[in-house]
């Protein structure tokens, strides 16, 4: 889960990482007041989209009036599809230099990794590999001062900045570790008046560890539909196509979407009902899918833990309740397959055993709809 910049900065600041003076504002008046208190400010849209600066999500203002106007313009606007409801009004920094510092998990190395560069800022991803220094963290040891020192020296830092870099890196790791983060990032790590400061802040918490952090407010920017389906314990992503897809397992759901595309169709969503969800959530999710009015629905179930008869039951339940006006193509094989087919037959629902045939049928149905 990504945290908003202002939340990440609050946590950084609480852990003694220097951050700019700032106020979170929900309306232009608050922004004006903040600017009055702070002086010249940057006004930053609080959205979770990447590339915010390039997308116009940051404005500057010298006076409260300018701040009010800039905030008014940002608030209510959209940054890469995310509506702006809050802005962070922050002291405008006199940045002398921009470094980069991040900690994340390197899946290949199966370790947390510190990454740092002298060339921070918005173009960090174009920085050549040799300008990035890194250190893999042994989870049995953690990040120690000597490792941070080694990174700082390799960046060519000296004296005061070197010492600040070491302290800040160790603190960032403490936050990364204590908050079960997947990412703790400062970009730019700005040099302001000869001192290091977190000009921006990112902190992504591992969703699977949120239960250990009841104090962290859940940030969920999904649509109502996404939230409703997630509430059923299922994994859902909205897409652009017109064929609703439901399958059991992330891999097979993706493979179903891929196959659809290769046969000329386009998935309207990713919905994984894997892991023995039971017929009730499956029926509810199916209803929610139907409510989006797709051209067709493709259900691809390879029954393992998911039992085919439960899938059949979910389908029958939905059909009984509201009928099936939208073409529904079902592929069903695996555990309790025969019971399922018998039940479906009794309710006039047909199904495929072959995935290719089912996908072809779904594409045809969507084209004819």
């Amino acid at each position: 889960m990504k945290l908003y910049e202002h939340l990440a900065k609050e946590i950084f600041s609480r852990n003694d990482i220097p951050t700019p003076k700032g106020r979170l504002c929900r309306n232009p008046e608050e922004a004006a007041l903040a600017a009055q208190e702070i002086g010249p400010v940057a006004i930053k849209a609080q959205v979770l989209a990447g590339g915010r600066g390039k997308a116009g999500g940051i404005a500057f203002a010298s006076t409260p009036k300018e701040a009010e106007a800039a905030a008014a313009k940002l608030l209510g606007s959209n940054i890469r599809g995310y509506p702006v409801t809050k802005v962070l009004v922050e002291e405008k920094l006199n940045i002398q230099d921009e470094l980069y510092l991040g900690i994340t998990v390197d899946s290949g190395a199966r370790r947390a990794i510190v990454l740092a560069s002298r060339q921070g800022g918005i173009n960090i991803e174009e920085v050549p590999e040799e300008a990035i220094v890194s250190h893999l963290i042994d989870p049995l040891i953690g990040l120690k001062r000597y490792a941070a020192l080694d990174l700082g020296l390799k960046l060519g830092l000296k004296e005061g900045l070197l010492k600040e870099f070491i302290d800040l890196t160790l603190k960032l790791y403490q936050i990364f570790y204590a908050y079960d983060a997947e990412l703790a990032e400062i970009n730019p790590l700005a040099v302001v008046d000869g001192h290091l400061m977190a000009a921006d802040a990112r902190l992504n918490i591992d969703d699977d560890a949120l239960f250990r952090h009841p104090d962290i407010e859940i940030v969920d920017e999904g649509s109502e539909l996404e939230k409703a389906i997630k509430a059923l314990g299922l994994s859902y992503v909205q897409l652009e196509g017109n064929i609703a897809v439901m399958a059991n397992g992330a891999g097979i759901t993706m493979a179903t979407m891929d196959t659809l595309q290769k046969f000329g169709g386009r998935a309207a969503n990713f919905l994984d009902v894997g892991g023995g969800a039971g017929n009730e959530p499956m029926a509810k999710a199916l209803e929610l899918l139907l409510d989006t009015n797709p051209k067709a629905v493709l259900i691809n179930i390879f029954g393992g833990i998911t039992r085919c008869d439960e899938v059949a039951r979910a389908l029958i339940q939905v059909k009984e309740k509201r009928g099936l006006k939208i073409p529904l193509i079902l592929r069903l094989v695996g555990t309790n397959e025969e019971e399922a087919y018998n039940a479906l037959k009794a309710h006039g629902i047909s199904a495929f055993r072959n995935m290719q045939e089912a996908v072809t049928a779904a594409v045809t149905a969507a084209q004819n709809a």
């Binding site: 990794i113 991803e125 079960d180 397992g249 993706m254 892991g275 995935m355």
Partner: protein, 287 residues
């Protein structure tokens, strides 16, 4: 013997009294797996399907000396369950549980190395040596013994592939789910190394997906691997996944996409199936 497990492998089930644990214990017993004991703290002394239940792994070990354990406990307790197995000296730990905190997995992976143990998973469907032993949650009927090694990240998709192999008369030596999480115990590369050394395995099918760099790392190994590899990768149509800030981009450096993975695998001679059902045909070609 197949990789890790065989007919005589004695299996412990941690979380045996839970719904998942009990259901899959039944399935494993039905498959012929020697499930010798179960563990659920506070439930020692009971039986589940004739399998004795203990309060701790240590107590179970004193009586039954299991070779492997399967962990079915909820995510919040899975870390300690795996530690308990590691500390007790069990050398094969299959973590079926999903949603383990990432930092927990990092520690487990490091500690498993210290203890000389193998962790399969977390978030895995398990491991099966067809007709001999199954430790996991995969459906019983779809596997047949044979010369094809199968290693996959995701469960149901691998069942699809395994079933199509079996239908085509291509049995499997061992099928391993490495787990769907960003960090897992046994990696593709390690599984491929094991298949390389396994006399029963003549070809390997790798079922991967977009995200991470596991397939690219596998490709680097396949380059010098003497046995043929066929791969199917899911995610060709998926939009770019959630990115882990700049740091993720710096680490991945363009890897992780469908195109990058296919390119890496094709360059080292692996055959890529466009659809799951194409896998058996490609395996026949290389066998």
């Amino acid at each position: 013997m197949s990789l890790f497990i065989d007919r005589d492998t004695k299996v412990l089930i941690q979380g045996i009294t839970g719904n998942q644990g009990a259901f899959h214990t039944q399935q494993m017993l039905a498959y012929g797996t020697k499930v010798v004991a179960g563990v659920t703290p506070g439930r020692g002394g009971r039986e589940v399907l004739g399998v004795p239940v203990y309060d701790t792994v240590k107590l179970a070990i004193e009586k039954h000396d299991p070779d492997a354990t399967a962990i079915f406990v909820p995510a919040a307790f899975a870390y300690e369950a795996a530690l308990e197995a590691l500390e007790a000296g069990i050398k094969l730990i299959v973590i079926i549980s999903e949603h383990l905190p990432l930092h927990d997995t990092l520690k487990l992976v490091a500690l498993a190395k210290v203890k000389g143990a193998t962790i399969i998973g977390p978030n895995t469907f398990g491991i099966i040596a067809p007709s001999r032993c199954k430790i996991g949650i995969m459906p019983n009927p779809i596997y047949r013994p044979g010369p094809v090694g199968l290693v996959a990240r995701s469960g149901t998709l691998s069942y699809e592939v395994a079933a199509s192999l079996s239908e085509a008369g291509l049995g499997q030596s061992t099928v391993i789910g490495i787990g769907g999480d960003r960090v897992v115990g046994l990696t593709f590369v390690e599984a491929l190394e094991l298949f390389t050394r396994d006399p029963e395995t003549e070809a390997v099918v790798l079922v991967g997906e977009i995200g991470g760099t596991a397939e690219e790392e596998a490709a680097a190994y396949i380059k010098t691997m003497p046995k043929p590899v066929v791969a199917y990768l899911a995610g060709s149509s998926a939009p770019p996944g959630k990115r882990m800030g700049h740091a993720g981009a710096i680490i991945e450096r363009g890897r992780g996409t469908y195109e990058a993975k296919v390119k890496a695998l094709e360059e080292v001679g692996a055959k890529i199936a466009a659809f799951p059902w194409e896998v058996p045909g490609l395996v026949r070609e290389v066998l």
